[in-house]
């Protein structure tokens, strides 16, 4: 009987939708999204795998068959070696007291979980990609995502089998960064993409007296919190433009991120925990 009163039904439906849009607790929303993503993940993985196989087939036809697997292994090795190199660089620069202070931090074993990128963001509103591993594989929120080129982003909205990676270029991405040559710190945030589709970022609150040059390398400072894992010294990008803040108290610089992610890429999640064993 109540369903015959159309006005009431429409009002109730509209009210329900507004509640879902604005009032639904994020934990409940994430559970719903996790269910949808869990259902769609195999299809996404299959489509992404198909694309990968096609790409590999094209590579094999071009006469470089076998190089794909080798390339994957070399990339993993490259990431590991870059991490080693960064550590060695720090050892040279820092004095004994600082190294002692950092001993506790360095003693924590950072595991790297390799993941395939399975899809992009559906709407284009967010600079994000989805990876095919989640909580069941030991991934938590706010962990750094890196590739052989450098910092890719951080994990957000982790469900059981998938995780969203917020890319460095997203306007809501924030990380504490350091301009390596000037040894100057600042807060890096994403700036979206320009009209050519190239990702952009900017680093704020740089000391006004620091001498920043175009082309300077920007790396993670290792100071980022939010309960996440951001190793020190991971390449983010390079400075392309330097500006003075309107107040004159700080400088800010435009950054071109080094790591760009495509659907055929694989990335590494920096984690302190090892994957949970399945029962």
């Amino acid at each position: 009987m109540i369903f015959r009163n159309r006005k009431l039904v429409y009002t109730a439906a509209a009210g329900l939708l507004l509640v879902v849009a604005f009032v639904l607790p994020s934990s409940l929303s994430l559970k719903g999204k996790g269910a949808v993503r869990g259902v769609m993940a195999p299809a996404e993985r299959g489509t992404s795998g198909l694309g990968q196989r096609l790409s590999e087939a094209v590579s094999a036809i071009r006469g470089i068959g076998g190089a794909v697997e080798e390339n994957r292994e070399l990339s993993h090795e490259l990431v590991r070696l870059q991490a080693e190199l960064n550590k060695l660089g720090d050892v040279e620069i820092e004095n004994l007291r600082l190294r002692r202070a950092l001993d506790f931090h360095q003693s924590q074993a950072l595991a790297m979980i390799p993941c395939d990128v399975i899809s992009r963001n559906i709407s284009g509103w967010w600079n994000a990609v989805r990876i095919g591993k989640g909580r069941a594989d030991g991934i938590e929120e706010n962990h750094a995502v890196i590739s052989p080129d450098g910092l890719v982003g951080k994990t957000i909205e982790v469900s059981k089998h998938t995780s969203e990676v917020l890319l460095v270029s997203d306007p809501s991405f924030r990380v504490s960064a350091k301009i390596e040559r000037a040894n100057s710190f600042g807060l890096l945030r994403g700036e979206g993409a320009n009209l050519k589709g190239q990702p952009m970022a900017r680093i704020d609150f740089i000391d006004k007296d620091a001498e920043i040059r175009i082309g300077d390398d920007v790396v993670t400072s290792g100071l980022s919190g939010e309960g996440g894992v951001f190793p020190k010294g991971v390449q983010i990008g390079r400075v392309v433009k330097v500006h003075q803040n309107d107040s004159g108290l700080f400088q800010y610089a435009e950054i071109a991120p080094r790591a760009t992610v495509s659907l055929l890429d694989y990335v590494f999640i920096v984690s302190t925990s090892s994957p949970k064993e399945s029962p």
């Binding site: 507004l18 849009a21 269910a35 769609m40 996404e44 709407s123 284009g124 909205e157 993409a193 050519k196």
Partner: protein, 169 residues
């Protein structure tokens, strides 16, 4: 039943297509509104019940696979669907020009609603120029998407085996 299965499958494939299509930097980084086009197609071609099922399935997939809260598609698609469904008997639904106009309007309306929701909830920063670029871009991409979706679905539905009507039944 077969048409219903095709509808569910078609919308899933539409979601995958939208996921894997690249974003268009010239239009503010948005993607072709494939799922909105599916919602519009079923609003123009089905009974109210079929329309609501398609609209909610498409909206659920869109918002479920997107970041942020549920909402933009769950609010936009029913509005687009209801408006299109109201006028479907007064227009030539399979006409290319009609579909281009509906595709453009649907894309723009969905984008406008998303902009309002994201701005009000503070999930995304608001820039007037960027918002304008995205609304125009959604219109252009929607104009191209709906006729393609419509063509594909009409072809697929036409090859479905027809139910035979026997004279004595």
């Amino acid at each position: 039943m077969k048409k219903r299965v095709l509808m569910f499958g078609g919308i899933v494939v539409g979601a995958l297509v939208q996921l894997f299509l690249p974003a268009w930097p010239i239009f503010g980084g948005i993607k072709p509104p494939v799922l909105a086009a599916f919602a519009l197609y079923y609003a123009l071609h089905r009974s109210p019940r079929g329309m609501w099922i398609a609209v909610f399935w498409a909206a659920l997939l869109h918002d479920g696979l997107d970041l942020g809260g549920f909402g933009p598609a769950l609010i936009a698609f029913p509005i687009i669907g209801t408006l299109a469904h109201r006028v479907r008997l007064e227009i030539f639904v399979d006409g290319a020009v009609t579909q281009m106009i509906f595709g453009a309007l649907g894309g723009m309306l969905a984008m406008l609603i998303a902009i309002v929701i994201y701005t009000v909830s503070g999930q995304r920063p608001f820039h007037l120029g960027f918002a304008f670029l995205r609304v125009v871009g959604s219109g252009v991409l929607g104009m191209a998407t709906l006729p393609l979706v419509s063509l594909a679905m009409n072809k697929l539905e036409s090859i479905l085996p027809k139910r035979r009507g026997y004279g004595w039944q």
